[in-house]
Symmetry: C2
Subunit: 422 residues, 2 copies
Amino acid sequence: MMSVAPLKPMTVEEQAITAKKAAKILSMLTTEEKNDALRIVANELEKEYGIILDANKKDLKKGREKGFDQAYMDRLALTQERVSDFAEGLRQVAGLPDPTGDVLSDWTLENGLKVQEVRVPLGVIGMIYEARPNVTADAAGLALKSGNAIVLKGGSSSLSSNKMIVEVMHRALEKTKIPKEAVQFIASTDRATTQKLFTMKEHIDVLIPRGGASLIKAVVENATVPVLETGVGNCHIYFDKEAETEKALNIIINAKTDRPAVCNAAETLIVHKDWLSENKEILAETLKEYGITIHGDQEAAAVLLNVIPANEEDWANEYLSLDLAVKTVNSLDEAIEHIDQYGTKHSEAIITENDDTAKRFMQLVDAAAIYHNASTRFTDGGALGFGAEIGISTQKLHARGPMGLPALTTIKYMMSGNGQIR
Amino acid sequence: MMSVAPLKPMTVEEQAITAKKAAKILSMLTTEEKNDALRIVANELEKEYGIILDANKKDLKKGREKGFDQAYMDRLALTQERVSDFAEGLRQVAGLPDPTGDVLSDWTLENGLKVQEVRVPLGVIGMIYEARPNVTADAAGLALKSGNAIVLKGGSSSLSSNKMIVEVMHRALEKTKIPKEAVQFIASTDRATTQKLFTMKEHIDVLIPRGGASLIKAVVENATVPVLETGVGNCHIYFDKEAETEKALNIIINAKTDRPAVCNAAETLIVHKDWLSENKEILAETLKEYGITIHGDQEAAAVLLNVIPANEEDWANEYLSLDLAVKTVNSLDEAIEHIDQYGTKHSEAIITENDDTAKRFMQLVDAAAIYHNASTRFTDGGALGFGAEIGISTQKLHARGPMGLPALTTIKYMMSGNGQIR
């Protein structure tokens, strides 16, 4: 059982079975053995940046031929510095506490049976992601550290880069206790392969999609393997009637403009009519100053500048740009109802000086992260001090919000007895 | 938002929306308010046992007409004592700690932003179950205690009983702070209703199927709502070459015969050839004495009595009867491989006096509960001291093994600041 087949062209099912075998070996390694391996992989990536950049050039050439836009090409492009960042990321993961083996609880039954609840790896993780080649190294590092094998399926536009990163990682893993078969890369991009990956419940323990809303939707709808849903954030900032003006403006500007393309950016400003009527000029000026395009309801249009009339789509849209929907309400509960209807359960904020109002908002709004008088931009593994994250979960089961290493584990009850029967 | 529509014939979608509104009210109640409500419901069920038994008679009559077997009719039948058991179950749940509101961790970022990870209800639970009417009261009690609304869909054979139990519960809830709309019962049994229930991702937070393998499979394959998979147990007992004879025999008899129809009963005995050759007579006698029908491989057939040749189906079968598959192996790793191939990740046991062998088995076997020298029958919320269980999870995400009240919760990050931005 402990032998692992050599790497050769395999079907996706063979790859998953091979990964599962490798995961067994990996699950028996010590934390130090895993950390040493991650550091060796990091060094190899830094040393071999040249061949990774060569492979990346092929992807960039294809991208230019296909006419990808500049933002997309920027995400695709690697530099020596970016490769060093992968390596640094792996070293950071090596420095994090190992969640596996932790005894979460233990007790002894009256009959003497000892019970331990122990944290263990999930097994095999299926990672499906889009343009950025850095996910290849980042996701592999988090999986290996938490004792899991990983099957990687990157986007076709970064195929050469991803393949070369995996090749370099494999070469490095040969010098370590981690079997290189614990990192599998699916090069095929045909539908049948993807469909198989989504449904190999017996070989893959969880699927994690990282990318746009359509990728995530495709995985959720077609997978029978359990999915850790990540990412789509239609985040709201609610200015209560008792919101302090400067705080409120600072927060909406930060949440909207700091990095508009990320999932914790604000997409809708909900504003109490009393606050709006007192602060309409400064709100209008501030949004204009930062180049924000407003899609507003009638009440917003009446007092703000250059407002595009908002429709149903605007309330539901994750713009990921400097566009902002503005909804006016008569009460806290109306704001909560709007979030219930259009929110994606990611990050929601209330700005108010009234603690009771804040408490009601925080209790009744259903989301991974709820803020009182702070920007939604803090919903991030790094910002919250989790050390590293595999994504931000917008689901309620298993893991919610930024997912660190523990999200890649499950538990096992281990019972030791001396012949106990019921 | 806080008003709830009156009960009237509703579509399943309207029922789910109504449940979600009620869940909001429920999530704001104190533990004491919830406990009081559960005790009032318990009293009402005991008081009104007569009309529940009358309703049950209708189901029993239909069952006889349909020619259900005696075991099925026994599960369906209610008595005054069984109704009292429901009530007692609700009182026990009232006595359990309330998991919601627990602060699981809290810290402050350098910028002063306070972070709390708080346990909160999931929201709305969809419960799909078969014959036993007791699930109606049990599941509702666990849901309400953990702050969740519940949409119940019982089997058609217990429709009258289930409906009356819900009616009595509703009448009692009117005297409490819990809105009666938090308990919804779906009386319709048509396919379209079921399909809708499986796919209302926006209104239902989790589906929990309780019943046979085919029910669970139907839910897992058709649902887009996340599922907490429960129950199927193809459990193995492995007699290592260093297994102590008396312990081994006691455990296999207990695990196979104590309650053969439950999911933590043993279905396959895996036996090391060395142990078998030393203990063949006593094993043969013991299995015969307890009326166990053996489905064995060639090596087992050569030394045991009246062995039916085992085939692939036997290795995978959850007999739920006094049938037992017997597989012989040459090594520990061969036993683990067999479990990897045919196990359902429920409960697995090794009998050995060698602690290193036990450790390897416990680390490498992938299941919710692993036993060393004890019966698999302990995988049960009651036996392990969880107080009550909503089912036994055989999946790895969210909850694994017996699921108590915490399995019906999720977490929320609550951040309090004074204007923090990134």
